[in-house]
């Protein structure tokens, strides 16, 4: 199978319209970054432009001779697996597929600096967020950086996300999550588990349930605010195998969301306490 053509297909199918329409790389962002002397001037492979990689879920070029080398090991992913992943993507654009692809991509980046570079590149393609959306109600709590998340449901019943942060790395996280979930059905959004993101961690060690884990906190915020739109009786998904898991997942969230929605007050006596007091990073799963 021709890998290049697969990747091209991937780009066309997997990149959300939002991404394509809003991506206007500046001369500055396209130039080869001036890395400090201790870093070799490694380029990040890109399907659109050989200088940068702005294709979510892609992996580095296995053939370094075609571009500057990028110290990414494919050792953890067999070529068969990779091909399978790519093939899958050409036929579906489900959030689960995108997530798998992104996990594979980050897993292939064995050097922490490469993960950071990748995120910074993804940060550059994050669609801008209107100033009017930078309101306290849109703040994602629990992060050490400021993250704003705007959530809407479009006329097709799909969730639309926009986000921004004052941290470039957090913007990279947001960019990835939006690529995965923007345009997804509510049940797809609710179906993503934070553990699935654990392999994409940059700068956070160990378990995903860290207070400073932006991946986790942004995802939780996406899910918390998608919940009101989530109708578990949707006929489209009624017979899907993963339905049971979704329901279970929702039940697991109930404890948290009951707090959020004020159905449980035992957490605090008064209803005046801010939702931001809630441990969004806490995993209630036993």
């Amino acid at each position: 199978m021709n890998t290049t053509s697969s990747i091209s297909s991937l780009k066309a199918v997997a990149s959300p319209p939002l991404f394509i329409s809003t991506f206007r790389p500046t001369v500055k962002s396209l130039r080869n970054p001036k890395f400090p002397s201790r870093f070799s001037p490694k380029r990040i492979r890109c399907m659109q432009d050989s200088n940068i990689n702005l294709n979510f879920g892609s992996k580095s070029n296995p053939n370094p001779s075609s571009s500057h080398e990028f110290s990414v090991s494919f050792a953890t992913v067999s070529s068969l697996e990779a091909e399978e992943a790519l093939l899958t993507t050409t036929t579906t654009t489900s959030s689960a597929d995108k997530l798998r692809l992104l996990v594979t991509e980050f897993r292939s980046l064995t050097e922490p600096i490469d993960r950071v570079k990748r995120l910074l590149n993804y940060a550059t393609v994050l669609a801008p967020l209107d100033d009017s959306a930078r309101v306290p109600a849109n703040r994602v709590t629990g992060c050490t950086t400021q993250v704003w998340l705007e959530i809407k449901k479009d006329e097709l019943g799909r969730m639309r996300f926009k986000a921004d942060s004052d941290s470039e790395i957090s913007k990279g996280f947001c960019s990835c999550l939006i690529w995965i979930l923007d345009g997804a059905k509510p049940e797809e959004v609710m179906g993503v588990r934070s553990e699935d993101l654990s392999e994409m961690n940059v700068g956070v060690h160990g378990k995903a349930q860290s207070r400073v884990n932006t991946w986790h906190n942004v995802l939780m915020s996406m899910q918390k605010r998608t919940l009101p739109f989530f109708d578990g009786d949707d006929d489209d998904v009624a017979h899907r195998e993963e339905d049971r898991r979704l329901v279970q997942h929702r039940q697991e969230h109930d404890l948290l969301f009951n707090y959020v929605n004020g159905r449980r007050r035992s957490y605090m006596e008064s209803s005046d306490y801010s939702v931001s007091l809630l441990p969004l990073d806490y995993d209630f799963t036993i």
Binding site: K34, P36, T144
Partner: protein, 468 residues
Amino acid sequence: MEGVAMKLPSFKSLAPNAISFAVGHRSFTRVRRSFSLSVCSVASSSATIAADSEPVSLGRRARKDFRILHQEVNGSKLVYLDSAATSQKPAAVLDALQNYYEFYNSNVHRGIHYLSAKATDEFELARKKVARFINASDSREIVFTRNATEAINLVAYSWGLSNLKPGDEVILTVAEHHSCIVPWQIVSQKTGAVLKFVTLNEDEVPDMDMLREMLSQKTKLVAVHHVSNVLASSLPIEDIVVWAHDVGAKVLVDACQSVPHMVVDVQKLNADFLVASSHKMCGPTGIGFLYGKSDLLHEMPPFLGGGEMISDVFLDHSTYAEPPSRFEAGTPAIGEAIALGAACDYLSGIGMPKIHEYEVELSKYLYEKLSSLPDVRIYGPRPSESVCRAALCSFNVEGLHPTDLATFLDQQHGVAIRSGHHCAQPLHRYLGVNASARASLYFYNTKEEVDSFIVALADTVSFFNSFK
């Protein structure tokens, strides 16, 4: 090898009598010998230390007691610059904890058997050690708590709820840690007392003139930090106490960032309450303490109810034990308290004046190096002959988020710093920023580590700027 060395009563080699700071060549020889004898096999760096022509710094000598510092993180040698968040623990402290659980784990103040008696003796000895460490006149003035936050809450709920009434004023500064703001907010909501905040002056330290002007007959409490965990500034607690007492107000001192780093003498300060945390002073987590003047503690009602804090319990009422037991409901953190006592021994063995002297030197070096980098803004006062900063710098680099800096420093350079608001959101808001990075040192850090940090930071800034 290192494991074996850790079993040694390591702080002895740091005791003032064993090592003196070298002035002449002769005393330096003595330093080298005693150091080499005790720890020559611990780390390879020891050999190079002995060959140096400069006196061996306290930091270098102390590091042998902290096994955790001798490791690689993300492929780089660990440079731990987050001691203001929590300090590392020397072998002597870990040994004390291990010994308790291994040889005499038992509940205190209850059993008549040998182990319980031994545990009780050691637990109460730890209280005496803490009392001596801050020069309290009586160990009964030391109440063990979970941490400093709980100690402040204890005063807020016990003293605050029974002494504050509508219209009374509590004076704080905008630079307080959240633990010294939120409990007073809760108590003021319950009592109707008013919180008043001292802001910063042009030197970026809490304005003492403003504090003096705020004091009035309405003032019932002044609750302030001793050393700021963000600004690195110190408050003149002795003066504040005099001013506050003049109007009949009590003073609570949050000494979390001072007790681990300098001599703190509660009798000299004459503060009414003082709190500190074990884990910031080489002790374990899960234990902190409240110092309170005896007469005040005696007047205060219990904070939590349960075992240990009672005298007699009837179905309809109970009578309470004398302080400090009155405030220590339930089984305390026994091993942790004992290990805190060991931490006091360890720090005293080195000598708090010596630790402070060394940290002043480190602090100046850190400030000088950090301020030499372009686009770096350090918060707090500029050091001078009259202004002595604590050994920490909170800072921001123009155009870069501190969390991005901290992430890269960790991943690429093994440098551990803190980013965020450091539990001082109002202060950050006052400074006009949402977050800052903070490098905080302790006596086990060295100038070489500061150099490594500066090189790593310059590299980090260069990396991110290359993406702009």
